[in-house]
Symmetry: C2
Subunit: 292 residues, 2 copies
């Protein structure tokens, strides 16, 4: 396992946009907050737009490759999710990144980047985008600083959904993006995993479709536990909820499951270190970091 | 290629619900229309509901297996799409079906069933559900009868999207369902294909995500042409349209493409025989059936 060194005030960090275009005012505000603590670098073309993408594939790929490999940069913050990472992750020099990885912070579409890092043993931070940091939310901001400069909290309270206890690497993120990455052949976890899942605006039947396909395709064979973040705007019209669907799939996989981690597209999006070995104790309602 | 024998008035057909629950009144009306021409059979539990599914997996699987293998049944009509076929297709006795296949009629989620049939060389009908046949639409109804009792029309007018000409088996259907089937390991076209694609309520960035993942995963290597049906409620907020995205992917695959086939979730859903060898001539704006 490769854990980037703790960030320190004054370190250099980069803001990148590997996915969709973003609200400039919010991102500028988030960058202003980051500047209060770190030296912030970004490329002038960060603000490019090309339809639903933050500029061309080449622009976004060059920017991400630069930020992840420049030896002066200790942290890389994604401006926003949306869609676009899958279009460029095959062309990032991951072997170089792996030798001296900075912290990477993002979620949602950036799940595609976390997967690449975590599968290479690199720890990264599933957490708010720069745009979200632009909003007034001191608790989230303080949590981000804590996670990057000190460590992941020793544990999180969760609510049991299916009993049991399991230990593995905490991986995952956005379900729809995870499914797309698996379809693209970029999901290759070879070790026991505790799968973190969240999503937004997916009806329960779509969540079922993604999980059914992932399971039938053999992509979940190393999953030993499931821990759920927020399922924002995921109600359907047929009575069954996202949690009903997720409980059923935990049963099919015969693994413990818990929900209630305040992670994802909800009002609170706590930063969580992916790639760490964790123990999910669904009976005790606790997700514990295994101290290294 | 296995083409079920043409249906005749008086033949026995079955109505099944392998996916989601449906509007009973519409389906009863559709069944009443079918009864005007064929002997209609259905199981008493056709009307079961279990959340977003038309009854349990076992019920839907047993019903579909019965309808596809009963030697008295010459045509099988899906009541509705929605979601659910992928949960049961692995447990259908396809080898038995292949020996004496009936006509299968459906689309959308039933793309999962078409794929199983077409990959085994069986021709099927991408066409309206029984619920849609319950609406007053004599043109669609007459087209369905023509397709099942006579043959596929010699050709369809389409609009060129990317120039060129290609010949292959017409396969595909709903993009999101196709992607889920591929993720589940159930997409294995080994011959040149002209890919039919349509979808509903998918923003352009989602269409791009699915096509990007399918391409990166190597699932489109045998695609020699793309023909597009309707993209219903598929507008996004970033200016790029579904057709923009589809044109880009046709370019990446370096295949001819056309749009404007009146197939899918729009007002008109013409029946089209899948599994047939067709020539897409994007220059002439024509999709031609190769006469066998």
């Amino acid at each position: 396992m490769t854990v980037p060194p703790p960030l320190k005030p004054g370190d250099t960090v980069a803001v990148v946009a590997p996915a969709g275009p973003f609200d400039r005012l919010l991102v500028l505000r988030g960058m202003a907050w980051l500047r209060g603590r770190y030296r912030v670098r970004f490329r002038q073309d960060l603000f490019d737009r090309a339809g639903f993408l933050a500029g061309s594939d080449q622009r976004r790929r060059d920017e991400l490759a630069w930020a992840l490999t420049d030896p002066d940069i200790s942290g890389v913050f994604a401006a926003r999710g949306g869609h676009g990472c899958l279009r460029i992750v095959a062309d990032i020099p991951w072997d170089t990144v792996q030798q001296r990885p900075p912290w990477f912070v993002g979620f949602s579409d950036n799940t595609a980047i976390h997967l690449e890092l975590n599968q290479r043993g690199v720890v990264s931070v599933h957490g708010p985008h720069v745009g979200a940091l632009g909003r007034q939310d001191d608790v989230t901001r303080a949590s981000v600083v804590d996670t990057l400069e000190r460590s992941m909290p020793a544990g999180y309270d969760v609510n049991g959904l299916r009993p049991g206890r399991a230990t593995g690497a905490l991986v995952g993120g956005n379900l729809a993006v995870l499914a797309a990455c698996a379809l693209a052949g970029r999901l290759r976890f070879s070790q026991p995993c505790v799968l973190l899942l969240e999503d937004v605006a997916e009806a329960p039947y779509r969540i079922d479709r993604a999980l059914t396909a992932l399971r039938l395709g053999g992509h979940l064979t190393n999953v030993v536990g499931i821990v759920l973040g927020d399922w924002t705007h995921c109600r359907g019209k047929y009575g069954r909820t996202a949690l009903d669907v997720l409980r059923e799939h935990a049963s099919r996989l015969d693994v413990p499951a818990a929900h209630g981690l305040r992670v994802g597209h909800g009002a609170v999006n706590l930063p969580v270190q992916l790639g760490r070995t964790v123990t999910l104790d669904a009976d005790a309602g606790r997700l514990r970091l295994q101290q290294s």
